[in-house]
Symmetry: C2
């Protein structure tokens, strides 16, 4: 005790103090309203809007009113005669208006004379949960599925967090769907969850297994043109809507990575999607049909979704939405946009982002993803899409997302699904102000804004991609290529390092992938001298001595990019440490712990990649940067004993 008193005294004298705030486990997310006196309440979404305001709003009296002529889910907020009028065409709009007010309040904005008009860019703003029936979450790094034993209080918080940023749909189960997802027992559980989410304006959806009629229906086929199959689906859909009248629809991964699909019965993606769409149509349900397909024998995985789906453009029913990952491969730290987005002109499309950091350091690395998503929108016009989905990063960890800062990606996804032209900085700032009480925000906004590029730099700069470990997607294994593993599941397929250079030739002389892009971009990407350098090794097999804009050779630039990433990751620690006086010590220490892992991992990535690529480049690492401190042979022997359902406790250990 005496020691503590003395320490405190010294601290005061030094003008520096340890965080005095109470510890927090992060479970409150960005929703840190203070409770005021509650009054009577009503039910339903409008009731939620009212009770949230009654509990937490500290400003002028608010009047909620339904008003025709406004867009669905949109709202206006106006100060009139000492009151605040929130108007919307539907109850959800009122709820979003209420959360808008609370956001203004929590971020310290003036609420004196409001004149706000908002409407969402997309009708469907959806989270995809890759949750399995046994409670594991594929590529989940924040514990088990929150839907395993849906705790009412927790589900309410989950719904509230989603509604606060405008998310209005959630797919409850993994796209690699078990047929049992449609069993009566599963549907009963889905109903329970749907009932819990409904007051927050959130609909539930399900991923389905295309072979369900065989697997749980006992039919001899799942051919979408077979009448018994169609009848089975009709019955099943009717069963669902009896339980969940506002059920959203199906998400389908078909003929992809071993999942069954219409091609198994000689039918096309359109045949399969349209059959389901027809069954759902009377209930106003939709089919989200994924375009994530690729075959083991193809010479360029990046070409395949286009090749398989372009011939079907215009053949899909109007309640089918083709769900396409933002890039043509698979949620890499940086990819060009998937060329399907600009190519398919006659088909409703939606983008699938990955909020969970499967390829960006799991729940150990601080990587703010909004800038990556906005990079996508600089190529694909938001208005050309019909909806937006994000693969959730949510689990039953106290802090929901494993990493306190991973919450910002959930938050940002929702905000961008509402308005893709919001600036990433603003979103970061909004989230920070709501999530932490008082902080020197700017430094953290800068940190967040630079974090994605830092991650690209220390993992796979200059267009390199998919050089992750074979058994997980956390660490580097650019050398991973055991016999018998299909080539497009091994890094050398993607980096193609040799004595000449590094990268995948997708030019007109290579895989011709560039042809899938509009003529202008095709020309730009096809020429090594005009191709953006951050995608150079994506589109070109870049000679080691290729001259970069910096004046460096490609090899030297590569080295420097990796080192830039390491230095950036270390810098995050420095910045975060300055926050100690402002953050409760639990969250401070938990974030610090993760940032230390990240800094060490960055070094691991740099060393593994540079030392491995150096065996091809045979060039020295430049003298004006740090040199690897780990040994290649030891890194090659290292394994992290995890699968796709866990967050690694830490990175490289010897």
């Amino acid at each position: 005790m005496k020691r503590i008193l003395i320490s405190a005294l010294v601290l005061l004298m030094a003008g520096w103090s340890i965080a005095a705030t109470d510890n927090e486990d992060g479970s409150r997310l960005w929703l840190r309203f203070n409770r005021t006196n509650t009054t009577a309440s009503i039910t339903g979404v409008k009731g939620t809007a009212m009770s949230e305001l009654q509990a937490y709003w500290q400003g002028a009296p608010v009047v909620l009113k339904r008003q025709k002529g406004l867009a669905a889910d949109g709202y206006t907020i106006k100060t009139q005669g000492g009151k605040i009028m929130v108007a919307a065409a539907n109850d959800a709009g009122l709820l979003y208006g209420a959360y808008h007010l609370l956001r203004l309040q929590q971020t310290g904005e003036s609420c004196a004379a409001l004149d706000i008009s908002e409407k969402p860019a997309y009708d469907l703003r959806i989270l995809n949960h890759w949750d399995n029936p046994n409670g594991t979450v594929e590529r989940g790094f924040a514990g088990k599925s929150i839907f395993l034993n849906p705790d009412p209080e927790r589900m309410k918080l989950y719904a509230r967090a989603n509604a606060s940023v405008g998310i209005n749909g959630t797919v409850l189960n993994n796209v690699n769907a078990k047929p049992e997802a449609l069993s009566t027992e599963s549907l009963q559980k889905a109903k329970t969850i749907a009932d819990q989410l409904r007051p927050y304006g959130i609909r539930v959806y399900l991923s389905i297994n295309f072979a369900s009629p065989i697997k749980i229906g006992g039919l001899p086929t799942a051919d979408p043109l077979n009448a018994d199959v169609v009848r089975w689906w009709k019955d099943k859909v009717n069963e669902i809507y009896r339980l969940i009248p506002d059920f959203g629809g199906f998400l389908v991964k078909a003929n992809s990575e071993g999942e069954p699909g219409p091609q198994d019965f000689g039918r096309t993606h359109a045949d399969g999607a349209n059959m389901l769409a027809g069954v759902l149509k009377p209930h106003k349900g939709v089919v989200m049909w994924r375009a994530f397909v690729y075959k083991a024998q193809s010479s360029d995985r990046a070409n395949q979704a286009y090749e398989e789906f372009m011939p079907l453009d215009g053949q899909f029913a109007d309640n089918v939405i083709i769900q396409v990952k933002n890039g043509p491969i698979d949620f890499q730290p940086r990819e060009p946009y998937s060329p399907l987005f600009t190519a398919m002109q006659k088909t409703p499309m939606m983008v699938e982002f990955q909020i969970t950091q499967e390829y960006l350091g799991a729940a150990n690395h601080l990587v703010y993803l909004a800038p990556m998503w906005q990079e996508f929108f600089s190529f694909v016009k938001p208005a050309s899409l019909k909806a937006m989905a994000g693969v959730a990063n949510i689990g039953d960890d106290a802090n929901w997302c494993g990493h306190h800062f991973a919450q910002a990606n959930w938050y940002a996804f929702g905000r961008l699904a509402w308005n893709p032209s919001l600036r990433s900085e603003e979103i970061a700032s909004e989230w920070l102000k709501q999530t932490f009480s008082t902080l020197p925000w700017d430094a953290l906004v800068d940190l967040m804004m630079s974090s994605r590029e830092a991650c690209v730099n220390y993992m796979m700069p200059l267009g390199i991609h998919h050089i992750f470990a074979g058994t997980h997607h956390y660490g580097p294994e650019p050398w991973y290529a055991p016999r018998g593993v299909r080539a497009d599941w091994t890094p050398p397929y993607y980096h193609k390092a040799d004595a000449v250079g590094l990268g995948f030739d997708r030019t007109l002389k290579g895989s011709t992938n560039v042809k899938q892009y509009p003529a202008e971009l095709c020309k730009l990407y096809n020429d090594i001298n005009t191709c953006p350098e951050n995608l150079l090794a994506w589109f070109h097999h870049v000679p080691w001595d290729h001259q970069m804009k910096s004046g460096r050779t490609f090899w030297d630039e590569l080295c420097h990019k990796y080192d830039d990433g390491v230095r950036a990751a270390r810098r995050f620690l420095v910045v975060w440490d300055t926050m100690q006086p402002y953050v409760d010590s639990q969250r401070f220490l938990e974030v610090q712990h993760k940032l230390r892992i990240q800094a060490r991992d960055a070094e691991w990535w740099r060393d593994a990649c540079l030392l491995y690529f150096q065996t091809f480049s045979q060039r020295p690492i430049p003298q004006d940067m740090e040199h690897p401190v780990h040994n290649l042979d030891e890194m090659k022997k290292f394994r992290i004993p995890i699968g796709m359902y866990e967050n690694p406790e830490c990175g490289y250990t010897r």
Copy 2:
């Protein structure tokens, strides 16, 4: 094969090449003469001189001649009438002259018109081997004892390496001596070794256990004033000299760290040393009596050697030499000189350096020690000493010293024992030129010259000392203080970190250790404002906010010093990597491997010490440096499972 050809071509085009030199394991040390045609030879030391020249000298004919009037072991080399005359008063002088010529040849110096006159600063230039009878080497990091099964070829190389730098004595066994070191069997073995070393002018010495008359003599006492005891020693010494007529004498660790000594029988160090000296005197043997003593109950270990030995000044026989470690504690990366050196005016003294890096990263860290030893000589006049000893870093590893660059410390020790005023840079340059064929020397000389300060910085800057791990002296454990361990074997005894500051108050208001130094130095050290900053925490309990010359607070300066050390260690890797084209790949990779460990260890030291001390300072780590990437609690749990006989395979692992 095709890949190799392409690679080679690319390399040539890039103006960069992989080392083409044959691999080397480092066993040749700096002795890389090329064999010429041999002719007839003679025996003895002079014969060695002749055969070395006949085999390797490529210049003008050399004439070796004995000449009176020159100092023992000294020599002149003069070019006369197309011949080179090497003259010396004894055969050893001729041998040293021969090695001088070969050194000139190997370092590329001109041998055209030589006029050289050399004589050693000390008659005794001695290696202390801390080798145990079972072959382990205390604080040895290069394998087992070379004396366990003394291979004639290996012993010849060992002798040759020593003679090449002027070392003329070797203590075969650990100062923590077993009584059995004097058994007839052990002495037979010592004779074998002595016979192997004699042709290179090297005498053998033995460490003895003061209780030997009891333990192997069967006497009831080892009281040095007891007539039976004296007679036992006389008989034993006669036995030794019958076997080894040029035996050098005894090295004694008595009443220190549990070893027996004259105090056990109510006698003084002088009583014990003089008895042995009297017995050895007729044979011209010497007693090297160590002053490394300290008691568990003392308030300042640094005071104790002085307190115990000063009262005995002038009482020692003239063939006793008091062997004092360079600093008052124990071979730390930086200590002030031991005040005994300037205090004891009437006693022959010798300095004991530690060549083996017990406290400087073992055989994993590149730390060139010559600058540390010369720092000592800037306080203690070389002429005030009678001899110089170094604790060997030699084992049965192929490369002798575990780390290729550790050979430089063996080399430098010998060169400084010959001439303490040689510049460290020159010695480094000499060693490099002989050890590696062709290198851009300057960068490596710079690296070596900066390596000791780098080590001080990342381990214990600004006068901090002895904060090593409890069970080994490799890594940091400033927190190590389990119950029951004597206080002066735990780091907190030395660093005394608390809320006020850091360091051991040895001023006149503290332990008064400063009083043991000459008045001028006492005054300098006693005042925190004049005390050299690199010894600040040695002599003062420095307040965290003490203003340093840099303008920083002590805490900030401490942080920066640690970070300077980390950056320096990383820089070593960069410099070494530029040497790849010039070094055979075995030695290149082995050194690179060690430098990577060193860089990682430096980070470990920085993180462990700063995070631990921060629990006292309660001050933030400055923003203009990297922040710790490891976690204190994890570092505290970490153990390296080694004792005092092994080199750790690597440093911190989680």
